[in-house]
Every structure is written in structure tokens, then in C-alpha cells.
């Protein structure tokens, strides 16, 4: 009886995000105790205010019945957002309904591409990073035609060079 709901929340990436946030707040609280009174007062007030809220959110993920009661706290009670959600709007706070659509594989790919650009920037400066990243991303990730990839890379590379290097005098290498 217990295995079905447990596996449901264990497979939910949102559960791990809330767990991560809980850990962050807990660490902040533990570290706060070591500071002078005035330095720890406000962080402790905020931390002890935030911790139970994240715990309630986590409980809602583990026990669906709690989550249903938590629906009373949704913004929909202030605005009737039911129509918006039905329409599949993607505005601010589009809500946990989107969680089901999280494409982990694609997210990981994008994460690697973007992080790769940052690594090239770190070692070779931003001009090489921007030109290389744009060309390869457009050609291989976005499957653009070679001419389109070259045109976009050339135009953006030129704009970046003019704005950041010529006008702002931003050093290419950090």
C-alpha cells in the first residue's frame, strides 16, 4: 500500500528541489548560531519563518492529502487562476503542473552546452567562446543550415566585439 505513493514522490524532481532548499535553510540556521547577536537575529527570524513553510511543502509532496489541503493556499484563492491553468499559460509561477513536462534528457544536454560555453570563456576568453558556442550550438543542437549558423554567428560575434570590446572596453580574458 505504501510503495505506490512513496515511489511517486521519490521519482519527482520537485521533491529533491524542495529537499535541497530545506538543506540550504537548515545550514544557514546552524551557521547563524555562531554569529554575534545582532548579526544572527534577522537571519534566524527569516530562517525559522522559512523552514516550516518548506517542510509543509515537502509534506505535501509526500502525502497527497496534505497537498490537496495546501491547494487552499494557492494564488488561485486570491486570483481565480483555474482558467489560466486550464489554458496552459506559461507566465510567472506556472505551477507544479509543468513538473510533469520536465524533459530531463534535454535539460541535461542544454546544461552541458551552456556549461561548455562557460568553460571555454574561462580558459580562452569571451570572443572565442561566443563564436565557437554559437556556431556549434546552432549547427548541431538546433540543426540549422551551415549558412544560417555562419550568418548568425558572424552578426552576433561582430555586435559583441563592437559593444563589449570597442565601446565598453571589457577585457576578453578575465
Amino acid at each position: 500500500m505504501l510503495s505506490a505513493p512513496r515511489s511517486r514522490f521519490l521519482g519527482d524532481a520537485g521533491f529533491y528541489l524542495s529537499l535541497l532548499l530545506l538543506a540550504f535553510v537548515a545550514i544557514v540556521l546552524v551557521l547563524s548560531f555562531g554569529f554575534p547577536y545582532r548579526a544572527k537575529l534577522f537571519p534566524l527570524i527569516v530562517g525559522f519563518g522559512t523552514l516550516p513553510l518548506i517542510l509543509v511543502d515537502l509534506l505535501g509532496k509526500i502525502f497527497p492529502s496534505v497537498a490537496r489541503k495546501l491547494d487552499a493556499l494557492r494564488g488561485g484563492q486570491v486570483f481565480d487562476t483555474s482558467k489560466l491553468e486550464a489554458g496552459g499559460s506559461v507566465g510567472e509561477n506556472s505551477g507544479p503542473d509543468d513538473a510533469a513536462q520536465l524533459d530531463t534528457g534535454k535539460l541535461l544536454k542544454v546544461c552541458l552546452w551552456f556549461s561548455g560555453c562557460f568553460v571555454v570563456f574561462y580558459f580562452f576568453g569571451f570572443l572565442i567562446a561566443v563564436v565557437a558556442f554559437l556556431f556549434f550550438f546552432l549547427k548541431f543542437f538546433s540543426s540549422c543550415r551551415l549558412t544560417t549558423a555562419m550568418e548568425v554567428t558572424g552578426a552576433v560575434g561582430l555586435a559583441v566585439w563592437v559593444i563589449f570590446t570597442i565601446v565598453l572596453d571589457v577585457p576578453c580574458f578575465w
Binding site: 524532481a13 528541489l17 524542495s18 532548499l21 540550504f24 535553510v25 544557514v28 551557521l31 554569529f35 554575534p36 545582532r38 548579526a39 537575529l41 534577522f42 530562517g47 519563518g49 522559512t50 513553510l53 511543502d57 495546501l70 494564488g75 484563492q77 486570483f79 481565480d80 487562476t81 482558467k83 489560466l84 489554458g87 499559460s89 506559461v90 507566465g91 510567472e92 509561477n93 505551477g95 507544479p96 509543468d98 513538473a99 520536465l102 524533459d103 534535454k106 535539460l107 542544454v110 546544461c111 551552456f114 556549461s115 560555453c117 562557460f118 570563456f121 569571451f126 561566443v130 558556442f133 538546433s142 540549422c144 548568425v152 552576433v156 559583441v160 565598453l168 571589457v170 577585457p171 578575465w174
Partner: protein, 498 residues
């Protein structure tokens, strides 16, 4: 009256010089470009132009600076509407309804409304600036640390409660934002907190890279993954769409006036900032609209509210800058630097008959700049709207590169770029799991200020924490906050649904 005329005429005479227009256009173009590129705010453009203004006549310098200030706000609205990437932090609220309108193929309507609301909002702010200059001292003196603290708290709670979605997660995100703001040196005791031995965190977590990350880079990730164009339907690039946007501003006159008043009012309070002004006016518009259920899904009234407040706040922020030398925003702080460079002293000197022509130069240029940027916006809107037809995974790498460079170029720190990247992924996950990015950012931006004002209030108090209830303005905000929290709950109790 004769004093005003005597000040306006010399101010106008500067515009007879062709060189003044060259400087004005330079400032205008810089403002538009820097507003449209995330991370490169108006403050950066102004800072860049300060050395350029050296050697100019002070009035010509002020014309150039006003050109920047007028153009930045609408410049930032363009990517906010078309790509869900706010060019400057206050444009965040424009994304809420502007981007869904673009998705529906109505980018022209949104841009038309934004351009018109910007122009009229700025005019409103400038008018109030002119009217309030004599009375400004009284207003500023009434707002002390307790009022500022309660106002910040009110802003955070109100936004968490009213922004669409899960209120619990909205408040959580606000708390997390505040906790992030505590990293670095404590403003009161000077104690070093939560830096984990990292030199970079000595100065705390800088808000701009975080804003770039959670709003712009997260959107680049979203566009890369989805791959499709922003506009989910065939867009209409007819001039009639833009005209429809212009007309909608006049249909929602009350929203325009209310938002302009909120923008001007919050602009006057030093340090609260345009982001709070825009979000507050968006909330006010949503709460008072009969179509409040549609806010956040492409309601043109939301765009009007945000953009009117964004431009009106400049008039308000100029007041304390000119009258006391207290900058109302980051841009005004840089402008204050320009005043000092040109040997100008804000306060009675600047408001004396000798200094007033310069103040009028600034005011008139700000007005002209807003007219020009809005006219240009209306003319370009049809063509700009076509940007929403470009595939998401083609435009996303461009957004990402510009954002990464924007974050890096502010302090020339590679770690700022890394912070923006990390918060890009955090922002994406927050959106997917219903945590409000707005409250996170507001908590981070206002956290240090809230803590400092909290301690200052306690230090000046004889009655401890009760000080927040013994000062009239603070008490009003506390009561409004309590009402805002309780009314929805009471409403549900009445319906018997809780």
C-alpha cells in the same frame, strides 16, 4: 510663475544648438541599446557617459544623461515582451503579460501599449516632479527606518500573495531570497557571514547576475528545450495591431493613472526601486480589474500598468536626487556622480534661480527622450514583432551569450558569469516547480536594506519592536499587510471552503 518661465527659457535655448541634439541622440541610442541588453542597465550607460560629458557644458551633459534615462525603460520592455527576457530589472513585471501576448501572436498590441503607456507614464511622473519639487522635503522626512522596513516587508508579502501560483512557495522563495542577501559582511556589526571561505562572497551575492540568471538565462534554457518559436500562433504584423495597443491605453485610463501614481510615489522613496514599483502597480491593476483572472496570461492592462509605473518612477526618483542629493535608484546614484563631476551641488543651490535652468534642462530632455523612444517604438513595433517567429533554439544561444557577457562585464568578474549560469538553472527549476522567481529576487535585492532598517528601527526605539505600530505611516502599511493576508482567508471561510 515668472521664476519658472525665467528658468525654462534658458533651458530651452540650449536645444537651439545642434551639438546638444547630437549629445541627446547619443544618450538616447545608448539608453535604448543598454536597456535592451540584460545586465547593461541605464546605470551602466550613464556611468559610461560620465567621462564623455567631461568638457561639455553642464546643461549639455544633463541633456545627454536624460536621453539615456528616458530610453532605458522602453528599451528593456522590448525583449521582455518579445522573448520573456527583461532588459532591466523593473521590466520583470512587463514579462507577466507582455510575453503571453507575444505567444498569442499579439506582440504588436503589447509593444504599442507599452510605448504609449511609457510615454504617458513618464509625462505623469515629470508633471509630479515639477509640482512636488517645493513640497518634497516634507515627504522625505516622514519616511524613516521603521517605515522603510515595513514597506519592504509589505512589498515581499504582497507580491508572494498576489503573483500567480502557489502562495506558500512564493513566501518560501522570498525567505530564500532574504537568506541569500545575508551572505557577506553584516551591515550592522561587520561580521562576515556564510561566505564558506570564498573571497568572492565577501561582498555578498550580487543581485544583477542573479536577476540575469533567474529571468534571462532560465528563459534561454526554456527556449532551447522547447525549440519552437515564441509566437505559438501566426503573428499579425499589421499596423492595426499597434494602433489597437495604443487605443487600449486610453481605454484603461484609470490603470494608467493609478500605475503612474504608484511609480512616482515609490520612485520618490530612496532605494525601494523600480522593480517594486512595477510589480506593485501590476498587482494593483490586477486586483482592481474585472478581468483579474486573465492577468498573467496576456492581459494588455498588465503591460500598461508595468510600463507606466516604470517610466513614471524616473520623475519621482529625480526628486530626492535634485532636492537632497539622496539618489532614489542606481541610475540616480550615477547621475549624482555626474553632478559632482560638473561641480553641481544638489539641494538649495540647484533649486535656486541660478540652478533651476539646469534642472529644467534635465526635465525637458527626459520628456523629449520619452516622446522620441515611444514614437520610435510605435514605428518599429510591427517589425520587432516578427522576432517572435524565430525558432526558440536559434534565439536562445544568442540570449545566453549576451546574458553571460552582461553579467561578466558589470564587475569584470568571471564568478559573476558563473553565478548567473547557476541561477539560470535554479530559475528554470523554480519555474517548473512553481517557486516564484520574483519574490526570490526581491528578497535578495531588499534583504540587506530590510535588515539594516530593522536594526536601525530597534536602535531608535524606546518600545522595542512596537515601534512598527507606533508610527502612523508604518502602522498603515502593517494594517494593509494584515488585511491583504486575512481577506482571502476570511472570504474562503465565508464560502465554507476552508
Amino acid at each position: 510663475m515668472s521664476e519658472v518661465v525665467a528658468a525654462i527659457l534658458p533651458a530651452l535655448s540650449i536645444f537651439a544648438d545642434g551639438l546638444t541634439w547630437v549629445f541627446f541622440l547619443l544618450g538616447f541610442v545608448m539608453g535604448l541599446v543598454f536597456g535592451a541588453i540584460p545586465g547593461l542597465s541605464g546605470a551602466v550607460a550613464l556611468a559610461l557617459l560620465i567621462p564623455v560629458s567631461w568638457g561639455m557644458e553642464p546643461r549639455q551633459g544633463m541633456v545627454m544623461f536624460a536621453g539615456v534615462m528616458g530610453a532605458v525603460a522602453f528599451g528593456g520592455a522590448i525583449p521582455a515582451i518579445l522573448l520573456n527576457v527583461p532588459g532591466t530589472a523593473p521590466n520583470v513585471a512587463t514579462c507577466f503579460d507582455g510575453y503571453p501576448l507575444s505567444q498569442k501572436g499579439k506582440a504588436g498590441v503589447a509593444l504599442g501599449a507599452a510605448a504609449t503607456a511609457s510615454c504617458l507614464g513618464a509625462t505623469f511622473g515629470i508633471l509630479w516632479l515639477v509640482i512636488l519639487i517645493p513640497a518634497v522635503r516634507l515627504i522625505i522626512m516622514k519616511v524613516g527606518p521603521p517605515e522603510t522596513f515595513v514597506l519592504i516587508l509589505f512589498g515581499l508579502f504582497a507580491i508572494a500573495l498576489f503573483v500567480r501560483g502557489n502562495t506558500l512557495k512564493g513566501v518560501c522563495a522570498g525567505g530564500l531570497g532574504l537568506l541569500l542577501a545575508f551572505v557577506g559582511f553584516d551591515p550592522v556589526t561587520g561580521a562576515l557571514r556564510y561566505n564558506f571561505g570564498t573571497m568572492y562572497l565577501y561582498d555578498g551575492i550580487r543581485p544583477i547576475p542573479v536577476i540575469i540568471g533567474v529571468f534571462a538565462i532560465s528563459e534561454a534554457i526554456n527556449l532551447s528545450i522547447k525549440g519552437e518559436a515564441v509566437a505559438q500562433v501566426e503573428i499579425s504584423s499589421k499596423a492595426s495591431d499597434v494602433i489597437e495597443g495604443v487605443r487600449s491605453v486610453f481605454r484603461h485610463r484609470m490603470t494608467l493613472l493609478r500605475s503612474s501614481a504608484i511609480g512616482t510615489g515609490i520612485g520618490i522613496i530612496p532605494g525601494v526601486g523600480g522593480t517594486v514599483a512595477c510589480i506593485m502597480s501590476w498587482i494593483a491593476a490586477a486586483q482592481s480589474s474585472p478581468r483579474k483572472a486573465f492577468f498573467g496570461s496576456g492581459e494588455v492592462e498588465g503591460v500598461i500598468a508595468s510600463e507606466a509605473a516604470n517610466d513614471a518612477k524616473d520623475g519621482g526618483a529625480l526628486l530626492p536626487t535634485i532636492a537632497f542629493g539622496i539618489p532614489g535608484s542606481a541610475e540616480m546614484a550615477v547621475l549624482l556622480g555626474a553632478f559632482i563631476l560638473h561641480g553641481l551641488v544638489p539641494g538649495p543651490d540647484l533649486l535656486s534661480p541660478g540652478g533651476l535652468p539646469l534642472v529644467w534642462c534635465l526635465i525637458l530632455s527626459l520628456f523629449f527622450s520619452n516622446i522620441l523612444v515611444s514614437s520610435a517604438g510605435l514605428l518599429m513595433a510591427r517589425h520587432l514583432a516578427k522576432l517572435t517567429m524565430i525558432r526558440g533554439n536559434v534565439i536562445a544561444p544568442v540570449i545566453f551569450c549576451v546574458c553571460l557577457l552582461g553579467a561578466y562585464s558589470i564587475h569584470l568578474s568571471i564568478y559573476d558569469a558563473m553565478l548567473a549560469l547557476i541561477f539560470g538553472f535554479v530559475g528554470y527549476l523554480m519555474t517548473k516547480y512553481g517557486f516564484s522567481r520574483v519574490t526570490l529576487v526581491l528578497g535578495l535585492v531588499l534583504g540587506t536594506k530590510a535588515e539594516r532598517n530593522f536594526h536601525l528601527s530597534l536602535m531608535m526605539s524606546d518600545v522595542g519592536g512596537w515601534i512598527f505600530l507606533t508610527r502612523p505611516i508604518a502602522l498603515v502599511f502593517v494594517l494593509v499587510l494584515v488585511a491583504v493576508v486575512l481577506i482571502p482567508i476570511l472570504r474562503r471561510l465565508k464560502r465554507g471552503r476552508l
